[in-house]
């Protein structure tokens, strides 16, 4: 159980983390999501004891980090962003060193960890010569050394190629079956794939927190529907939709080719309020005798949530999430 109570952290005049309260029960895989500079790394550094909070308190299994730093750190396996490791050591020596630091029997543990993390082929290479993917795996082995109850990974897939990303994600899922895992990322798809729960942070504050499904499926201001109808004109369709409650802005979607249908109309509909407009849309179209080809929630809905929550309302500047995988 990880408990953050009114935690904040300032660097000079800058508030990196601003009054965050959250509690994470054992066994959850939590995704910490936010644009760059939102306070994800600072939050993780405070949970791992690398930084002390400027205000508030953090406790793990009832132990306050400030009072029992060593006992708390023993429970946590942490991989910082880009896995900073001693580049002049060979992998085997490094893992043996970590085992000694954790008070773990190296002979028993290092070989099995190397196996789990896929390091057996590089055990006698210098860490400095490893590719990013392998370095990241050494970082993961470092974090898993003492079988920690809590695993904290800062951007574990950044800088990896697609195959490596899939491997690391599977590894995290596997590990997460038996422990609490906190993963930070700015990649939305990743959270949807591996996390039970999403916490979205923007400008040091929590802007959303809930089960991944709930946030993704959250019907309200953030959902977009894609609708493709045959047998009518665009104007007729727009007119018809005007009578449906809960539909906001409409825009044209990329047209689709449908065999045997001369001019299907595709629209993107923003859903407003908590109304579920799909049954009404279906019935109206069916009543008119038009053909409904497509009525789907856009799969990138978490992205919409993320965008809506992290866009600065005052300036209207969007946060970049070009790297969405």
């Amino acid at each position: 159980m990880i408990e953050l109570s009114h935690v904040s952290r300032t660097f000079g005049a800058f508030r990196a983390v601003d009054d965050i309260s959250v509690s994470i029960p054992s066994g959850q895989i939590v995704g910490l999501l936010g644009p760059n500079g939102a306070g994800k790394t600072t939050t993780m550094r405070m949970i791992t004891g690398f930084l002390a909070p400027s205000g508030g308190s953090i406790s793990i299994d009832g132990m306050n980090i400030a009072e029992a730093p060593v006992a708390v750190k023993r429970k946590i396996g942490y991989m910082p962003e880009s896995a900073p490791l001693y580049s002049d050591m060979i992998v085997d020596d490094y893992l043996r060193y970590v085992a000694a630091m954790q008070g773990v029997d190296a002979d028993a543990k290092v070989a099995s960890l190397a196996n789990v993390c896929g390091l057996t082929e590089v055990m006698h290479k210098n860490i400095g010569e490893l590719s990013r993917g392998y370095k990241q795996r050494v970082g993961l082995a470092h974090a898993l050394m003492q079988d920690p109850e809590i695993l904290i990974l800062d951007e574990p897939t950044s800088g990896l190629d697609p195959n490596q990303i899939i491997e690391v994600r599977n590894l995290i899922k596997e590990i997460g079956r038996t422990r609490t895992v906190i993963v930070s990322t700015h990649i939305l798809g990743e959270v949807e794939m591996i996390c039970d729960r999403v916490i979205i942070i923007s400008k040091g504050k929590i802007v959303a927190d809930g089960p991944t499904e709930e946030i993704r499926g959250h019907f309200g201001h953030y959902t977009t529907l894609r609708l493709t109808v045959g047998g009518c004109t665009r104007d007729e369709l727009v007119h018809l939709l005007g009578s449906v409650r809960g539909i906001g802005a409409l825009r044209d979607a990329n047209p689709v080719y449908i065999r045997g249908e001369a001019a299907p109309v595709s629209l993107m509909l923003s859903v407003e309020g908590d109304e579920e407009p799909r049954p009404a849309i279906f019935r109206l179209i069916a009543d008119r005798g038009w053909t409904l080809y497509e009525l789907a929630v856009q799969t990138s809905s978490l992205e919409e949530v993320f965008r809506a929550l992290t866009v600065d309302a005052a300036t209207g500047t969007g946060t970049s999430n070009e790297e969405v995988v």
Binding site: R45, T48, G49, F50, L51, A52, D61, P69, V70, A71, K73, R74, I76, Y78, M79, P80, S82, A83, P84, L85, Y86, S87, D88, M89, D93, Y97, V98, A100, M101, Q102, G103, G139, H142, D147, E149, T178
Partner: protein, 249 residues
């Protein structure tokens, strides 16, 4: 899976953690080229300074060698210690280190022990000077034993100064010059004192490493001299722990 570690085991593990850190530092130091370059240069430089006058003076003693030692070590020990913390901070490995179950004190102890051993290892080849001197005459063993004993304490103090300097910056070169600056001032303080009014000379003279080292190296082992080096060492170790703790805040 819950593991509760009794408090007694925690405290028993502290020296073990510091030892692991010390071993890693020594491994990194001796597996790279720096150890051999620094030790080699030290041997050459101290050899030139010593033997250039040894044959002229024609006296079977190591006094000249020990006289030069504070200034030589002011230069060479910072070269050993400059990377200890600054390299960890530059590369970010300080984060993986400090999030292991360690305290700042464990890390400082481990790194200090490694620095001290490296510094003493640098002095080991100079034992050949003792052999040389013994070949040409019969030196008085008192000042030689005293000189090496004093050198152990001097190395400890300068290692602590070097470690402190390394903790305040990410830049190894800056760490080197801070350590060199503090060490050289401490070494040569008694030389500067002639510029100062007499009333504070006696007070400041106590802080001169050369004066304390000089008296040990003459074979006079006075607890005040030893206490001086122990105090300087502890002072800078405490400062280093303080700097490291401040980085967390």
């Amino acid at each position: 899976m819950k593991t509760t570690v009794p408090a007694s085991r925690h405290s028993a593990q502290r020296p073990r953690v510091a030892t692991v850190i010390m071993k890693r530092e020594l491994g990194a130091y001796f597996s790279g080229p720096i150890a051999y370059i620094v030790t080699g240069l030290f041997l050459i430089l101290s050899g030139i300074l010593f033997f250039s006058v040894f044959f002229l003076q024609d006296r079977a003693e190591l006094r000249r060698f020990f006289d030069n030692l504070p200034i030589l070590l002011s230069f060479f020990i910072p070269a050993l210690t400059m990377r200890l913390f600054s390299e960890e901070k530059r590369s970010g490995t300080i984060e993986t280190l400090m999030t292991l179950p360690v305290t700042e004190l464990d890390v400082v102890w481990g790194k200090f022990a490694a620095a001290w051993i490296s510094a003493v290892a640098m002095l080991v080849p100079t034992l050949s000077y003792v052999v040389t001197v013994a070949l040409f005459g019969s030196p008085d063993p008192g000042p030689i034993v005293g000189g090496y004993l004093g050198a152990l304490f001097l190395c400890a103090a300068f290692s602590a100064i070097g470690l402190f300097a390394s903790s305040v910056t990410k830049n190894q070169i800056i760490a080197f010059f801070i350590a060199f600056g503090i060490s050289i001032v401490v070494s040569t303080m008694d030389v500067f004192l002639i510029f100062l009014p007499g009333s504070i000379v006696d007070f400041l003279a106590y802080f001169s490493a050369s004066a304390h080292f000089g008296s040990i190296a003459r074979g006079i082992i006075d607890t005040r001299d030893l206490l001086y080096f122990v105090s300087v060492t502890l002072l800078f170790l405490v400062l280093t722990v303080e700097v490291e703790q401040r980085e967390r805040r």
